[in-house]
């Protein structure tokens, strides 16, 4: 298991900063790894959508497949994260983290197949 950091004393600064500090200190590195991936997917989806709205949706199928790939991958990664999180062990008694990763891999491959089909 990845080592967790000991919680520090809560600061008197505004809640966002303290939330960020708590997140940084209490989340294991593995989950942060997945969180970085989720953040990247969100950014990518937002940028694609902004391009579609601002400039053009000309190859509409391309926009749809790109956007759907980010959204789909986000959903899969988020479910992986929640299943792998050791604090959720009581929620997912029958699903081992390895099983979760296998599901994630299978789902990603199927998603990629459909995205490539639609990409054109």
């Amino acid at each position: 298991m990845a080592p967790t950091k000991t919680p520090a004393a809560p600061s008197s600064q505004n809640p966002v900063v303290s939330l960020w500090k708590a997140y940084n200190q209490q989340t294991p590195d593995r989950l942060k790894f997945i969180d970085a991936f989720l953040f990247f997917l969100m950014l990518s989806g937002i940028i694609q959508f902004a391009y579609c709205v601002l400039v053009t949706n000309y190859p509409y199928n391309a926009f749809l497949s790109g956007f759907a790939s980010t959204v789909g991958q986000f959903v899969l990664a988020a479910s992986l994260r929640s299943q792998v999180n050791p604090q959720n062990k009581n929620e997912f008694k029958e699903v081992s983290p390895e099983r979760a990763f296998a599901d994630f891999a299978l789902g990603s491959i199927v998603l990629h197949f459909f995205v490539y089909n639609f990409l054109g």
């Binding site: 990845a2 790894f33 970085a36 391009y51 400039v55 099983r99 197949f113 490539y116």
Partner: protein, 272 residues
């Protein structure tokens, strides 16, 4: 070869009786009854001047059908008066009642115009007499021309427009969609690729130790996943659906085995 010739001779020598008319006469009279024009007509020559009929006038045709040889009255099976308009091709035919003695009388009263008259055009109507009966030669002779007052035009059938060429159709299609300006495309391509750098930057900070990644129990699984991605990329470039499904099935079987091996080894390490 002699058969049609024999038929011709037979027709010539057959009983070829002719009909003719005795005292044929037509008369135009107005609504009060006074006669405006009355003269005989003949089968051999057409009446020269056309007969003009006014709005309330009456045309009366009388004749007697007789055999040419013995001048006896004949009641033909079919006797018709035909009004034909050469310019439009319309015609109206009316049977004439003939007594057994051969006497016939035909009335055309324009106060009550009959329905069989064709609509009036610029040309006069050709009036002809048609008689047909067994044992006699048939008769179809133009008698005179008839000028009628103006009538309503012929009614047009509602489906008439379907039988003529219709106006040509011009479809308007949605204009072609244009590719936006190259510079804007490049700028936005750069912006779209920027999250990758963000990802790499974040991952460099929080990357967990990947010690077990290249161990012999886990590496085949990673390799099969990578092969799947490669297969899908190649499918995008040049493969067809049947091919990719076939290769994918084979690769899937391989991945199942490598995956079980890899993940069970990790699970064993975790529960230790």
């Amino acid at each position: 070869m002699f058969y049609p010739l024999a038929l011709l001779l037979l027709a010539v020598t057959a009983q070829a009786s002719t009909l003719t008319l005795k005292s044929p006469r037509f008369a135009v009279s107005d609504s009060t009854g006074s006669q405006l024009r009355g003269e005989p007509f003949s089968l051999t020559s057409r009446t020269a001047s056309p007969v003009k009929l006014g709005a309330r006038e009456n045309l009366k045709i009388t004749f007697q059908v007789v055999d040419k040889e013995d001048e006896k009255g004949v009641q033909p099976h079919q006797t018709f008066i035909r009004f034909y308009d050469a310019s439009t091709g319309e015609e109206g035919i009316q049977p004439v009642r003939v007594t057994p003695g051969g006497k016939a009388k035909f009335d055309l009263n324009l106060s009550k115009p009959p329905l069989y008259l064709p609509p009036t055009s610029d040309e006069p109507l050709k009036v002809s007499l048609i008689i047909g009966t067994p044992d006699y030669d048939p008769l179809s002779v133009q008698l005179f021309d008839l000028v009628l007052p103006r009538s309503q035009p012929a009614p047009v059938h509602p489906d008439e427009v379907v039988f003529h060429p219709r106006p040509e159709l011009y479809h308007t299609f949605r204009p072609e969609q244009k590719v936006p300006n190259k510079f804007i495309s490049l700028v936005f391509s750069g912006i779209a690729l920027a999250p990758w750098f963000v990802l790499l930057g974040l991952w460099s900070q929080v990357a967990p130790r990947a010690t077990g990644l290249f161990s012999p129990s886990i590496l085949p699984f990673i390799a099969s996943l990578g092969a799947f991605e490669g297969l899908l990329f190649t499918y995008w470039l040049k493969l067809r659906l049947g091919d990719v499904l076939l290769y994918g099935a084979i690769l899937g079987v391989v991945t199942v085995f490598t995956g079980r091996q890899a993940l069970s080894s990790i699970a064993a390490k975790r529960t230790q």
